[in-house]
């Protein structure tokens, strides 16, 4: 037991690496925040665009719309199939070769944002499609345009439907900030792992786990609260 405590809960080691872990928490926090904002926003934009492009329209325009629509679906399927770590490494080594100097932080942010956007697009899309057809008909019959109906009638209902799966997916992907460790983003896992290497004691990892808990448990709780807050009687 003493040995277990010494290995995983070594107070001395933990104290020594606490400042590092705290600075890692800060990096994880803002990286996650940026990923959430850009990922969810881009996902929503793509879902709305896909919805707009799915309208019936006259011939030459409809081909263009169909092409863009297929492009969105291709992007979404691609981003959902590739492991985020592969994307991070690809962007980190690949983009500078294209003249785009991107740091580890940028590569991680970009990769996770795109992956979150792809999953979020599918979730939003499912939500948009799930809203009863009668809602479209009611709104259009009062003279609302397609876009007005989409934004004021359909989207608010779709968002409510999508909050539970969206919260889950967002948490899952923002936890992927830990993958930034591979490209030297100094987030929690990076700090914990280097602490482990320097001290030859895994206690910094324990501390890292606690840091993740401290960061993401509130997010999970808030997500649960939002779910109940936005539920309405049918």
């Amino acid at each position: 037991m003493d040995r277990f405590l010494f290995t995983f809960f070594n107070g001395e080691v933990m104290w020594e690496y606490l400042p590092k872990i705290l600075s890692g928490m800060w990096v994880t926090t803002y990286l996650a925040a940026f990923v959430i904002v850009t990922g969810l926003a881009l996902g929503l934009l793509l879902a709305l665009l896909r919805s707009i492009l799915s309208q019936t329209m006259p011939a030459p325009l409809s081909w263009l719309a169909e092409a863009v629509r297929l492009l969105i679906i291709f992007f979404v399927d691609l981003m959902r199939s590739v492991p985020p770590l592969v994307l991070i490494v690809l962007f980190f080594y690949g983009l500078p070769a294209l003249g785009l100097d991107i740091a580890g932080l940028g590569a991680t942010w970009l990769a996770l944002s795109l992956v979150l956007a792809a999953f979020a697009e599918e979730i939003y899309w499912a939500g948009l499609v799930a809203v009863a057809k009668g809602q479209w008909e009611a709104a259009r019959s009062t003279g609302l345009g397609f876009l007005q109906t989409l934004l004021y009638v359909i989207l608010p209902q779709a968002i409510r439907l999508t909050i539970p799966p969206l919260t889950n997916r967002t948490i899952a992907i923002t936890k992927g900030t830990a993958l930034g460790q591979v490209v030297a983003v100094q987030e929690i896992l990076y700090q914990a792992y280097s602490g482990l290497s320097f001290s030859s004691n895994p206690s910094p990892l324990t501390l890292g786990a606690l840091a993740y808990l401290a960061l993401f448990l509130p997010v999970v709780v808030v997500g649960r609260w939002i779910e109940t807050r936005f539920a309405w009687r049918r």
Binding site: A139, R140, T142, G143, Y152, V153, R233
Partner: protein, 250 residues
Amino acid sequence: MTAIDRPILEVQGLRKSFGAVEVLKGIDFRLRERELAFIIGPSGSGKSTFLRCCNRLEEPSSGAIRVDGTDILAHGVDINAVRRRIGMVFQSFNLYPHMTALGNVTLALRLASRKSKAEATDIGQAALARVGLAEKAHAYPGELSGGQQQRVAIARALALEPKIVLFDEPTSALDPELVGSVLQVMRDLREAGMTMLVVSHELQFARAAADRVVFMEDGVIVEQGPPAQIFGDPQQARTRAFVARIDGHR
């Protein structure tokens, strides 16, 4: 042509196909101002499709439809402006669940008619008062009974001051004890001179309140006339058979 004879709705040679299935096979129909017409017929006869073509929720395959003199199928017609003059009430109410009764009634006033918030609220409150629900303005659809929801839906249509209101089986989704309140609102509208086209199975109501009853079967109008004719002395064998079948169920 006198004012009372002015047609609000004129339909000529209306046809509608879904794929290879022709649902409407040439409908000719005129509805005069202040007239209340009932469309009856067996399910699958095309009643609802006909109604939904009148504001282009369904796109007609061919034919002509004029509403208050406007050719609504014309190329380049502003369909949203046309629809503001055609109210529609649905079987399943289709209220926006995330908005209050007042929000439901004022949304199109704000967005489509470009009224100010204060003006829209005044009109919306008046419309809700008209259907007897002034005190429910801030209730959400989920907090209202089916009958109340349908009356809010009627208020939503009325708020835009339409020339005609289309009712698509407005009482079919209601519990029997709630039907009366909706029919009362429709009776009041008739008193107020609203032009109405109603698809419904409320034959008692049709008998009592309709100016004209239209019997449809297999995508055509088989017979139309005053309720006394359609229910009491139908001229066509198919109408007779339908009315006898309905009466047999009582």
